[in-house]
Subunit: 562 residues, 2 copies
Amino acid sequence: MKVIIVGGVAGGASCAARLRRLDEDAEILMVERGPYVSYANCGLPYYIGGVIEKKSNLLVATADTFRDMFNVDARIDCEVVGIDAAARTVQLKDGKSGALTTEHYDKLVLSPGAAPIRPPLPGIDLPGIFGVRTVPDASQIRDWIDERRGRASGMDTYSGFQALERQLRAVVVGGGFIGIETAENLVGLGFEVTLLQRGGQIMGPLDPEMARYLERHLDKHGVQVKLNAAASEFRQAEGGALEVLTATGDAYPADIVILGIGVKPETALAEMAGVEVGKLGGFRVDDQCRTSDPDIFAVGDAVEKVDCMTGEASLVALAGPANRQGRIVADVICGRDSRFRGTQGTAILGAFGGAVAWTGVNEKTLVRLGDDDFEKIYLYPNSHAGYYPGATLLAMKVIFRKSDGRLLGAQAVGREGVDKRIDALAMAIQLGGTVYDLEECELCYAPQFGMAKSPPNFAGMVGANLLRGDVGLVHWDSLGDGFLLDVRHPEELAVEQLPGVVNIPVDELRGRLDELPRDREILVICRSGQRAYYATRILMQNGFTARTVAGGMLSHEIFATL
Amino acid sequence: MKVIIVGGVAGGASCAARLRRLDEDAEILMVERGPYVSYANCGLPYYIGGVIEKKSNLLVATADTFRDMFNVDARIDCEVVGIDAAARTVQLKDGKSGALTTEHYDKLVLSPGAAPIRPPLPGIDLPGIFGVRTVPDASQIRDWIDERRGRASGMDTYSGFQALERQLRAVVVGGGFIGIETAENLVGLGFEVTLLQRGGQIMGPLDPEMARYLERHLDKHGVQVKLNAAASEFRQAEGGALEVLTATGDAYPADIVILGIGVKPETALAEMAGVEVGKLGGFRVDDQCRTSDPDIFAVGDAVEKVDCMTGEASLVALAGPANRQGRIVADVICGRDSRFRGTQGTAILGAFGGAVAWTGVNEKTLVRLGDDDFEKIYLYPNSHAGYYPGATLLAMKVIFRKSDGRLLGAQAVGREGVDKRIDALAMAIQLGGTVYDLEECELCYAPQFGMAKSPPNFAGMVGANLLRGDVGLVHWDSLGDGFLLDVRHPEELAVEQLPGVVNIPVDELRGRLDELPRDREILVICRSGQRAYYATRILMQNGFTARTVAGGMLSHEIFATL
């Protein structure tokens, strides 16, 4: 059996290695258009910033590794220029010699990835406008930056120790992973960074109010985030710099422009092979990653994946699912019945000492699908026990089924322990867990690491209280005309309070019930929602109609800016 | 309805607060023998070490909080001196006035906790020998230490800035949570610390080979761990110091002795109330925490809890389960059908920048129960992507059912991300997850936080490969007389190698198969087990009988010392 794998990174490389482990006799040819196989795409922004110092650090395995360890004929600088699916042949072009060869396959695995989107705007091809996809892309960016830093320091070359005579300016177009990670690294290199975002929020997989935390965090650390600022044109400016114009008529000077608008599946190979492409523009495959041609498989960022939560096709471009798909295709080629369960879209972004992570479905998607069988809660637990030094607040949103409590999705932002909480919730979602399960979960507790009631545990309690009818929640975006009762202490209101609220601290509430109306719904506010919940319980049991304002003033902060 | 809660920490305090939220009208009396309610026991070692600076930091809520926020009559310095279960009355003694009062209850909740074990050894009551249970215990220890540091600095009082003229010495008896955490804090205060452990390993919930990592880590950071060194006597030595003698005849001088031998349920209240105590010496309760008297409940460290994994009774003394029990009792008293699912024993210990954590059942327990339907694997993944700076190794042991792959338990040690991995696995265990589920799990990945194949994901792949028969494992403690093949590179063997191994690097193996015997089982070794797995696959498919030595040389290090 001969298997040809096109694309030697992530999914392709995983497939080759697994295939060899399962079948010592298969003939495996892995071709990669670029100069490197199995490199660490996710490290590229950090290589640009010098956090990852050497290019060699990015090379997880070389073509030689594949040859020696896995007996895989791995060819770099080797491009597929034709596929004859009927004859089951692939035409290959050697990048150096230009020589063409034809190779027969029994099974063909396509793992071409996705390319940074370059919108057809005026000036998009000017020098200094970069996408960040490959090691050569990152090297070019480093060279470009070094040259500009050399000039800005008044020297021909930049030593890294010279002060810059003027601050260099970067414009990052698009606030997704690549945009934000590269922005952070450019700030680290001394750039003044502006991030232009077409719509009303950055980082699309987040709900907009949760994205607010990230936008503020970036702003605080030197990335000027401009929302509703779609780049419309790029121009050459004086002194070799560029200028980025937006649809709103603003102009941003830039010594470098990074395109972080997103990626688009590479489907040239689908056309060559005559296999189907789905509505979203990625390869259409079944749950064994088989294309419309039974001998051709496709994996990774080029492929439409089923979203586990919605059942919809999605274009999630993440390393984990790509690797899993590569592994599954190897299994399938070797006659095993492995199947890809889809992706739940778990992901994390680190920036400036903080992180934002998510898993499962977001509210936007549920609303788009017309699905209203869900509840959402907002929590602000400490990252570890408040009595141990160094605790910081986490902001979490957890979404679950109203009908049965099943977890649907979670989003979290904070400085410490974001990954840990989303990992636990991701595992719970995968296994069909509910808020009732979270209520009883038993996670690691010592004061440096967490709390006796861990954030997932706490989320379970809040969610279960809600579903059992012990408390009703109201959200800031749908307050209506309820009577607003703030149960914080007056000192807290002195710092910030809403117009028109009545203030009765929770610990005075039982004695002051006669100050409250019995003919109106009372909406109870505190800082995070916890004391408001206590107060709501007091009110409900005393015959009042009351609900807790979810997430309290901490949530108001973000909703107020939507 | 009147509810009396005895014990105002963790379980008792959780019960009181929840009870009030569910029933605004209940009369709730919470009595606490000590001077504080709701304090942070788990913080006491860090208060001793000054990491938590102020005593007030330890006080999560005061009696006033309970009065004002929850309308709970919380009385401190108030001891139960008699219970008449037939009459449903409790006799209380005020610690200050000595006054006795009798209170009627409809429901009684007992949350007395567990006391440090003080074995009846000669000299056990000498001054300077401390248990660490309450805030006053910790204060006494701080005072004792300050006085000794004052003397050792040649001054009457110790300012914190004076150099010590001689190093103070501490002996910690027992290597459980309290022993190790206090040892760390005493090292931080400049003590020379010796930890005496009766048996062959510290931290009993770990399997002995995993405890080795912790023992080494402590040794490396200045805690001299003495195994099989049971304290047998305490003596007054010269200059106000103590001397701790061991059964093996050694003597250790000590300026302070900390007892960390473990805790014993406080069951005096069980005797007073005439309710049943189980075989392990804790309150026997049903899954609603009801004792043998239907109006008396018991929660927390004093209670025998069902171990979720084995179904056996256990004396797990952890904050999380205690709080959950308190909450459940409140539900039950209010007529709800809440049930305690038992404990899976998830816990974590931090020490000197590292951590060790576990969840579920350990191998020792399975062996004790005669359960051989399990497999175990050892893994040494990076804490985050190796190509991003700062990654460190994790050591993990994962145990699962041989018959169906269901996860049974996990233990992990390392510097970074131990809590995260055990949390994810704890959630998987709770929800009945298998190694096949882990194989497909989707956790957070960015290079600072993890790997595209996360450690739980990796554990799933290794476990599933094993159960599917793709590879057989052999463990260091049962090698037998197989032919040992080391597939590392010669440079690695130059550092350390086993006597009698044959060395063929994995990437030369295919060309050197004729050097290997076909009539013996080949046991394949590498550093962590990964390359050995590749090599085992090559050998199996070439007609050899071969297994991978689990955990490679990294596991050998620990097994060699057992």
